[in-house]
Amino acid sequence: MRNIFLFIRRFSNFLLFLVLQIIAITFLVRYNKSHEAAFMGVAGEVTGKISERYTNVNNYFGLKETNDALVKENTRLRNLLKDNYQSPDTTQRFVIDSIRVDSLLRIQKFKYYDAPVAGNFISNQNNYITIHRGANQGVKKDWGVISAQGIVGRVVNVGPNFSVVMSALHRQFSVNAMLKKGGERGSVYWDGESPLFLYLKDIPKSAQVQKGDTVLTSTVSDIYPPGIMVGTIAEIINEKSSNFYKLKLKTATAFSTIQYVTVIEDLQKEERSQVEKEVKKN
């Protein structure tokens, strides 16, 4: 017993070092898995407020770019005003009554909320964006986030007034996307190297791909509406051993200068996940 105490006393510094290392690594591993860490809620509010002060000043330097992006987005939206709505399948409806049923009735599927960016980093391996809209303003976990130019990320942590968004520039980020031309689907990920480029994998070699082609979010994506810009093809990587292309994409969103984002609520999400879960159960 005495020896144990002597040992602990002798190596107390080393043991403390090990304990502190374990604390730090545990934080890191847990956060990478669940995006929750001790004191993150309190710390998020404090760092969010400080970051917002900085961003308020910094935003003045990017006003021109923001305006340009907004004008372009408005023009684009005017061209597709009806696309946020989907029509129910009316071909199966069995109508006995002679009263006319409005077959053009549309159900809203996506709802948009704007949010200013409070903090934004792009130089890490796992990048996060803090936005000034939280649970008090109706944000929930796993909502999609886009900018005027294209996709930005996914909400991973919600505080009362601030939320943390996992940026597309994150090693764990993944989203289903399609080629605009042929509709072939694949998944988008980031390799952690350059914040200007994403990768799209699993595109069959039968697809016609060309440099400069547009890549959009697909219809099966569970957080984004279809047809949101992801990027344009910058390089086609032809892996000889597989039947799939890997495409290097130039991101549509300029991640370093985002000032405002749009958070997207999928109103039919619960129904979708419930239906999918029931299938898995059987």
Binding site: L28, T47, N126
Partner: protein
């Protein structure tokens, strides 16, 4: 200003500088992330107990992590260099009893060459561990090596400039005073 107050002010300044200046710089190259914040740990006084040194470093690293939303990623390397620092200082210090005569490691208290060695070793250790944690899977060794080297080079340049700009006048303390 008392040493405690000075170090608290430094704590805040280093964090703010790292988060709002150096991390806002557009990436120059995929290898380069300008880090300077860990200089705070090198500037902590000689007479701090090792346990206290490591504890302050953990707190310092975590504070940065909460800003960058990467809890633990910077805290672990900070604790490592805080643990290593006393070893290195003991090995490198040339003047007899300099730890007692001066307050904290600097060019003046340790001399140019030993202080530079201390800075280089801690910088490389810090970055190696940090990049190692970021890239737990070693799928690309050259990326790892390149990033450590490039980031260390930029950090050393920044530290050099900081030391020139903010030359710390260390007072020589004697036992008789």
């Amino acid at each position: 200003m008392s040493p405690l107050l000075k170090n608290i002010v430094r704590f805040a300044l280093f964090i703010l500088l790292q988060v709002f200046v150096l991390h806002q710089v557009r990436p120059l190259h995929q290898f380069v992330v300008p880090y300077l914040y860990f200089l705070y740990i090198l500037w902590l006084p000689f007479n701090m107990k090792r346990g206290m040194l490591m504890f302050v470093s953990l707190l310092f690293g975590l504070t940065l992590d909460y800003f960058l939303k990467t809890p633990g990623l910077h805290a672990a390397p900070c604790v490592l260099i805080a643990y290593i620092r006393p070893f290195l200082v003991n090995q490198l210090i040339s003047q007899e009893g300099a730890e007692q005569n001066y307050a904290s490691p600097s060019v003046k208290s340790m001399g140019w060459a030993p202080y530079a060695t201390l800075v280089v070793i801690t910088t490389v250790l810090h970055h190696s561990y940090l990049v190692f944690l970021e890239w737990m899977q070693f799928d690309n060794f050259w990326f790892f090596a390149g990033k450590v080297l490039a980031t260390s080079a930029v950090s050393l340049l920044l530290i050099f400039i900081t030391e020139l700009l903010f030359f710390r006048k260390e007072k020589f303390r004697t036992n008789t005073a």
